[in-house]
Structure formats: C-alpha cells, structure tokens
C-alpha cells in the first residue's frame, strides 16, 4: 500500500464515524442506534491506531509525506503534511480521546449526538496537526472550536453554558483578527501555504516590513488565545471546570496543545517567527508561575485542576518558545522541543487522569469544595469500590504532577530543566513546581478521613451511584500509561526526538540520566518547600491572601481587554525587534 494513500485516515475515519453516528441517531432507535454508535466510535477512534502504527517505522526514518488535496496545483490547493510532529500529536489525541470516551460510558454525557460531535473534534485535531496552509489552519481551528463549545455545554450545567458562551465570543473574535492577519500575508506574498509565504517574505525588502510583522502577530495572538498563555487565559478556567469530566480531560490534555504545535510549522520557516517564539516563551514561563499561584487559591476542585492546566501549559510553552527561538535544526532547539512535547504528552496523561478521578469522586460525594469535602475515600468505598481504584489512580496522577520519581511527570520536568540548564526560565519553573506540590497536598486532603465520623453520611435508603466499570477501566488505563511512560521515559524521549528531528540531526546520542543524584536532590527540595508553602497558606493570613486572589474581579469584558492587550503587546514587540 502506498503511504500517501493512508495519511488522511486519522482525519477521515473519525469523520466517517461521526456521520455514521448521526445516521444511527436519525434512522434507528434504542438498540440499533447504540450498536451503530459503538461501531462508529470503533471506526473513528479505533481504526486510526492501525494506520498510526503502520506509519510509525517510516516516520522514524524521517519520511515526510506532503500531499495536495484533490490533486490541484501546489499553489492553489490545500497542502497537508504528515511527519513526525503530526504523528506525535495524533498519538496524543487518539489515546486521550479513547480513554475519555470510554469514561463517558459510565459518567455521561451519552448518546449518538454526543459521540458524533466528539468524533468531529478528534478529526479536527488530526487535521490541525497536519495542515500547512494558513486558511486551512483557520478552518481547522474553527471546527475544533465549534465542537468544543458544544461539548463544554453538554454537561447541561447553567454555568457551563455561560463558560461556553464566553469562550465562543472571545475565540470567534480572535479568529476574525486571524483572518485580517491572513489577508495581510496573502496580499504581500500571494500565497497561503506556509512555504509560499516564507519564500515570498524572503524576497520582499526587509522581509515584508510592518505589514508582515503585524499580520504575523495577529495570527500568533489568535492561536495563543486557544493555547491559553498569559494574559489570554481568561476563558479556560470556567470552561474546563464546568465541562463534563471526560471533556475536561480532552480539553486540557490535547485541545490546548494542538494549536501550539500547529503554529510551530509556520514559525520555524519564517525569520520573524523566531521573535514570536521568544516572546511567547517568556510569557509561558510567567504563565507557569502565575497559574500555579491562582490554582493554589482555588476552592473548587475542578477549577483548581483547570488553573493547573494553565500553569503546566506554561511549562510547555516556555520550552517550546525557546526551541522556536533557537531553531529546530540546532541541537539545543531540538532538545528543548523534545522536552516540550514530552511534557505536553505526559501532562495530557496525568491531567486527564486527575480530571477523571476527581470527577468520579466529586460526582459521588455531591460536593466540589476542597475545604468542605472530606473522607472521600470512604464515600468511594460506599459507592461500590471495594478496591480503591479511583483513590489509587488519583494518587498516581497527583504524584506525577508533583514530579515524584519514577512517574512520568518527574521525567518530563527533569527533561525540561535539563534543556533549560541555568537560564532564568528554569528558576521560574522550579518555583512553579513548589506551588504545584503545595496545591496538590491541598487537593488530596479531600480523601483524608473525616474528623467527625459520618456526619454527612447519606441516610440509609439513598444509595449513592455506583462507580461504573468503564470509569475504572479508563482510569486504570491512564494510570498505567503514567507509570509506564515514567519508567521508560528515556526510551520514549529518544523516539520523540527522532520523530521531531525528521532525520536532520543525528539523534543517537545517549540521553541524560534522569535519575541522577542532582535531580533527586532537587525533587526533595521541591517537595519540602511545597509542604512548607502548604503549611504557610493554611494559616489564617495565608488563607486571607488566597481568598483575595480567588475573589479577584473577573468579567466578560476582561477577556477582550486581555486579548487586545496581548495582541497589541506582541505587535509592538515584533515592530521593536525588526
């Protein structure tokens, strides 16, 4: 079979699945609809795995498959490129989406309509990872967005509708600016493909001057909004906190990272892209620290996790930005990019796991307040979990995000600090690590036994919902992935590096030893400092400061203000640097 025939499979199979699911909804009832829905999901989320594994050997040898849809001429048609980066993003997307869908079987939302939209979102993820055409990127991001607005609202909570509305408005506005930027680049170069734009800008005097700089910053700001980098993060906490648990896992695991890696493709071939990468990297380091401070102050469990997503995306963006600034064809740039993707992947695994376990727990307990909920382990036991699967899985996730060896979070954070060496970003990330430890100690208190026994116990007769077997399966799957990817981290990081290098650089050098004494010492310091920080914020003045941070004013206009400021700042930076 020709390789170029099957590279669209990760996009088309989920789309086919969603069509089937809709058809099943329209023409069949009960059993028939369910049967069709399940086979649609098997086609959409299962079959792409075969394609991905079939493609892996040639991706490892550095093959790049570039195709124009519909056999148009290269200058007119839409170009897709499948390479190591696309493979990695697809791998990430399909593993988290699969686990999340299995989780929804037990916890909802259910139904063919939901599955169809979910599959459309997965298809858009795969397409975003592959496209090398600016307008197609716009379309992919919009499809991704529309699917996620629907999915966020599908939890049927009133707050989720408001979160979805705010997200929709701010991101639709951002995409209008994206279009304006696209027009600017099209006017300058007469091309929409990344390569065409790059070669066009190269011939122009001063690389296109003011127009090119402003256009690029409009595009980058619109994408950065989706990634939720400081200061464009305002939509994320509500959306992630109020979405159904499985959707939260996908949103913060995959959806906020895919646009970032899609943006890489254009930034690395345009000279001005370096400066955008640099500024976004700085913003990322700040995001990591500010995000964790706000997270520490939260009292809603899922909102706390959502702010941690912002903080962790800060880690990823800071390494990503430094990698783009250094260039992917340099060894240091490649190391940074590898660390960035490794953390993106590992974060998807452990954050997905955390969202699912916390979701299971809070659903069963009927309480989401960190300060009120206690004795969750007992509640889970009463809910039918004789062996504490959820508690164990939560611990795996929490220890992973706190970077305790040998879990995967430790491996990727060690890789990040190795890549950053002694630059100032490393100390930002180190400080953020302390905050992470403190806030997860705070979160894990919900499982501690209650002080007054059985005060809030449900009366006899009101039997709490059972924990569905599919919930346990998806949690165990993610937990095993967390542990396994931590133990085999050096091998995985070598594979990621090989896939990202596309055969340009020799990647066969021995990776650094993750479990060096120095790294372990650093972990010990982080954990100790985290415990101290937790004790500090548990005091009365500490709690007062936290409630000040938690109750800072937030409103709809603020989203647009921060977006405009961020975009303006990026444009000024670009003009100043050119």
């Amino acid at each position: 079979m020709n390789l170029s025939d099957i590279i669209f499979a990760p996009v088309f199979l989920p789309l086919l699945g969603s069509v089937l699911a809709f058809l099943g909804k329209a023409f069949f009832k009960d059993h028939g609809a369910k049967l069709i829905e399940y086979s649609a999901v098997l086609i959409g989320l299962g079959l792409p795995w075969i394609v991905l594994f079939y493609l892996l050997p040639s991706m490892l040898s550095g093959t790049v498959i570039q195709l124009v849809i519909g056999n148009w001429l290269g200058g007119v048609g839409v170009i897709y490129r499948f390479d190591g980066l696309a493979w990695l993003v697809d791998f990430l997307g399909f593993s988290i989406a699969g686990a999340a869908w299995i989780y929804t079987l037990g916890a909802g939302p259910k139904g063919p309509g939901f599955s169809a939209v979910f599959l459309i979102q997965t298809a858009a993820l795969a397409a975003t990872a592959m496209t090398v055409d600016l307008f197609n990127l716009f379309v992919c991001l919009e499809v991704l967005g529309i699917a996620s607005y629907v999915l966020i609202a599908s939890s049927e909570k009133p707050g989720a509708f408001l979160a979805s509305f705010s997200y929709l408005m701010v991101s639709a506005t951002a995409m209008v600016f994206f279009l304006v930027g696209l027009l600017g680049l099209y006017r300058l170069t007469g091309s929409l493909s990344y390569e065409g734009i790059a070669s066009g800008l190269k011939i122009l005097p001063r690389g296109g001057g003011l127009t090119a700089n402003v256009s690029l910053s409009l595009i980058a700001a619109a994408v950065a909004m989706r990634v939720a980098v400081m200061p464009l993060y305002g939509w994320l906490p509500d959306a992630h906190a109020l979405a159904p648990h499985a959707i939260s896992a996908v949103l913060s695991g995959v959806l906020i990272k895919t646009p970032l890696f899609a943006l890489t493709r254009i930034l690395i071939i345009i000279p001005e892209g370096i400066e955008i990468g640099r500024l976004m990297g700085y913003a990322g380091a700040a995001t990591a620290l500010v995000g964790v401070i706000i997270a520490l102050a939260q009292k809603d469990t899922k909102r706390l996790l959502a702010y941690h997503s912002i903080s962790q995306i800060g880690y990823i963006v800071s390494a990503w930005g430094a990698a783009v600034a250094a260039g992917l064809s340099t060894p240091i740039g490649l190391t940074l990019m590898t660390a960035s993707f490794l953390h993106a992947m590992y974060h998807a695994l452990f954050k997905g796991l955390l969202f699912l376990t916390i979701g299971t727990t809070t659903d069963l307990a009927g309480e989401r307040d960190v300060y009120k909920l206690r004795g969750a382990a007992t509640i889970l036991y009463r809910g039918g979990e004789k062996f504490p699967v959820t508690l164990f899985c939560f611990l795996v996730g929490a220890l992973a995000i706190m970077a305790i060896p040998p879990l995967n979070g430790y491996a990727s954070k060690a890789a990040l600090s190795y890549a950053f060496k002694d630059s100032w970003q490393a100390s930002f990330l180190f400080a953020a690590g302390i905050g992470t430890t403190a806030s997860f100690i705070k979160l894990s208190r919900i499982y501690w036994p209650q002080r007054k026994i059985d005060q809030a116990a449900p009366e006899a007769g009101t039997v709490p919902d059972k924990v569905h077997i599919s919930i346990q399966i998806s949690q165990i799957f993610l937990a095993i992935m967390c542990i396994a990817s931590g133990i085999f981290a050096s091998r995985i990081s070598l594979i990621v590096k090989k896939l990202l290098s596309t055969g340009i650089i020799d990647t066969n050098r021995v990776p650094p030893n993750l479990f060096s004494i120095q790294n372990l010492e650093k972990t010990a310091i982080t954990v100790t400092a985290g415990i101290v920080l937790f004790l500090i914020v548990s005091t009365r003045p500490g709690k007062k400061i936290l409630s000040l941070i938690r109750n800072r004013p937030r409103n709809f206009q603020g989203l647009f203000l921060s977006f405009s400021l961020g975009m303006f700042g990026l444009a000024l930076w670009m003009i100043y640097k050119s």
């Binding site: 529309i146 607005y149 009133p158 099209y186 989401r368 709809f556």
Partner: protein, 114 residues
C-alpha cells in the same frame, strides 16, 4: 480609500458592540457585523486587480482574484454556524436566568454552587 475607512468603522462598531453591549443578543449581532466587515474587506482587496467575475471560460478576461472569494465563502459558512450556536446558547442562558444581561447572568450563575 473611502471604502476602507467605512470598513474600519464597521469593524470598530462590531468590536465595540461585543465588548460594551450588555445584552448578549446584541453581542452576537456585533460578532456578525465584525465578521461581515472582514468578509467585505477580503472581497474588496480581491477586486483590485480586475473587473469581471472569475468564471473560467473562454473570452472572459481581466478577472478579479478568485481566491479571496473562495475563502470568504468558507468564512461565511463558519460565521453562520457560530452565530447559530451562539444564539442557541443564549436561549439556554435565558431559560436558566430569565435575562439577557451579561452581568446579571454572571451574578445569577456565580451564586449557584457547582
């Protein structure tokens, strides 16, 4: 030149409406206006190089740039989807809170425990 100034005014009206109007239905209108202003901008820029409609048949010469028009067809479709979805969400918000005022909605929904 005058067309561009008018378009900038249209764009700013849309942006102002999204931010400053309290009523969420008006916000959605404003988003539509913002979207339309960019669509018209694309068509305007595409039309600078020719005069005839880009129908590729014999005898048709001096056509405008067809790519912006093709792009805008897609963008209009996306815009319609977003407007429809936003209106649906607005309807649900109204059912929960009995108001279209964004601040009021914020206040009502934030009191609610979740």
């Amino acid at each position: 030149m005058i067309e561009r100034i008018l378009l900038i005014i249209l764009f700013l009206i849309g942006f102002y409406g999204i931010i400053a109007k309290k009523n969420i239905i008006k916000k959605i209108f404003a988003l539509s206006i913002l979207n339309s202003s960019v669509v018209i901008l694309f068509i305007l820029e595409g039309s600078k190089i020719g005069t005839n409609a880009p129908i590729m048949e014999e005898g048709v010469k001096n056509v405008v740039d067809p790519i912006p028009q093709a792009l805008m067809l897609t963008a209009i479709v996306i815009g319609v989807c977003i407007t429809a979805l936003a209106l649906a969400i607005a309807f649900r918000l109204y059912r929960y809170t009995h108001t279209f005022d964004i601040d009021e909605i914020h206040r009502k929904l934030h009191d609610e425990p979740f």
